[in-house]
């Protein structure tokens, strides 16, 4: 991971080369460098990082996250790896929960194909420009996005003597 100073340098480069408002913040915690990016600029930032002097040319992971009490709720993380720097960088963006949309990065990083589909499947983030944006893990007629935190647990409550009054019993 770049250290805190290195992260600030990267953030400054991004501000100069992409847009001033593209970087909304930086976070350096537990030796992990995270660049927080505005969702409308995430594609340009990733394109810039991929082409920069010592490029971050590998997308190791693209995944979603739901920070329920916080707003905006959803997050999408892009974990980048640079073989030249021997270093990793996390690019993070935050989205609201109604109609979350992001530009696809499938033309920059082909590995993003299935991972964007998974984020769509589990969190409902729609990636614009993706050639095949449909569910990947859940059945195609499934309703809802199961990894969101407000999604009901599902299954059936296990009955014990302390909670059997709370749930309707099988013979009721």
């Amino acid at each position: 991971m770049p250290d805190a100073t290195g992260l600030e340098l990267i953030a400054q480069q991004v501000r100069e080369n992409v847009a001033d408002e593209a970087v909304t913040g930086t976070m350096y915690a537990r030796e992990q460098a995270t660049l927080e990016v505005a969702p409308e600029h995430v594609r340009e930032v990733l394109a810039f990082l991929r082409e920069a002097g010592e490029p971050w040319e590998n997308l190791m992971s693209l995944h979603g996250c739901d920070y329920l009490p916080e707003e905006p709720r959803l997050g999408v993380h892009y974990q980048l790896l640079s073989m030249e720097r021997c270093d990793r960088l996390c690019v993070k963006t935050r989205l609201g929960v109604d109609d979350p949309r992001l530009p696809t990065v499938i033309d920059l990083f082909p590995t993003a194909d299935f991972q964007e589909r998974e984020v769509f499947d589990m969190f409902g983030v729609f990636f614009e420009g993706h050639p095949d944006m449909r569910r990947i893990l859940m059945p195609e007629d499934y309703e809802g996005f199961p990894q969101r935190r407000d999604f009901p647990m599902g299954g059936e409550p296990v009955l014990f003597t302390f909670n059997e009054g709370k749930f309707p019993r099988w013979y009721d």
């Binding site: 059945p139 199961p146 999604f151 009901p152 647990m153 599902g154 299954g155 059936e156």
Partner: protein, 202 residues
């Protein structure tokens, strides 16, 4: 049915064979025929004979779902547990030839229609064993991806608890299934609490 075996010497065997031959030709009559029937024939109903044959040649479907499948394979496939003792070791890998489906593992909602189709493809008579906590009740997977109990979409004959069940437990379940096939199902807790006759019939 109790069977006792006594050693037979070769001369006796020849005599018996000849008498059986005569009986089939209709040459035995009177006291000889009475004696032959008393000694050599066993009367039963066709259903009992059929069930006896069925329970002793169960063909399990070669079908595993999750971690219980490993345990299931050691039971139905390994000489150590030797399911051949109960006549159920011939694993069939097509549902058309199998008559016992062992649901070994959690049933995910994407797998449920496939299992239902396999079950529908099996020929009658067919039986299902839910092996382990997951296929019986979803077990620890209380979430969006797993069906809470395979009995939501399949009729299940035997539930074997455990996570995973011991091989003995699965063999015990298969023996209970054999009792059920014979038409004398185990009453389980009903027997223990003397609650027979209270079964809910729809």
């Amino acid at each position: 049915m109790e069977v006792t075996r006594t050693p037979v010497d070769a001369g006796d065997l020849r005599v018996r064979q000849l008498r059986a031959q005569q009986m089939l030709r209709g040459e035995l009559a009177g006291k000889d025929l009475d004696e032959f029937v008393e000694e050599r024939l066993l009367f039963t109903t066709l259903e009992t004979a059929q069930n006896w044959a069925r329970k002793n040649c169960l063909f399990p479907l070669g079908f595993g779902l999750a971690c219980c499948a490993i345990e299931m394979i050691t039971v139905i496939g390994s000489p150590r547990n030797d399911l051949a003792r109960f006549g159920a070791e011939a694993i069939r890998f097509t549902p058309r030839q199998a008559d016992l489906l062992i649901l070994s593992g959690r049933v995910s909602i994407k797998m449920a229609p496939i299992i239902r189709r396999l079950y529908d493809q099996m020929l009658e008579p067919k039986w299902v064993i839910a092996m382990g906590a997951c296929s019986s009740t979803a077990g620890m997977f209380n979430n969006y991806a797993v069906v809470a109990g395979a009995d939501k979409f399949l009729p299940i004959d035997i539930y074997v608890p455990g996570c995973p069940p011991r091989p003995e437990a699965l063999i015990y379940g298969i023996m209970k299934l054999q009792d059920k096939i014979m038409g004398t199902p185990d009453m389980g807790w009903r027997e223990r609490y003397r609650a027979e006759g209270t079964e809910e019939v729809e």
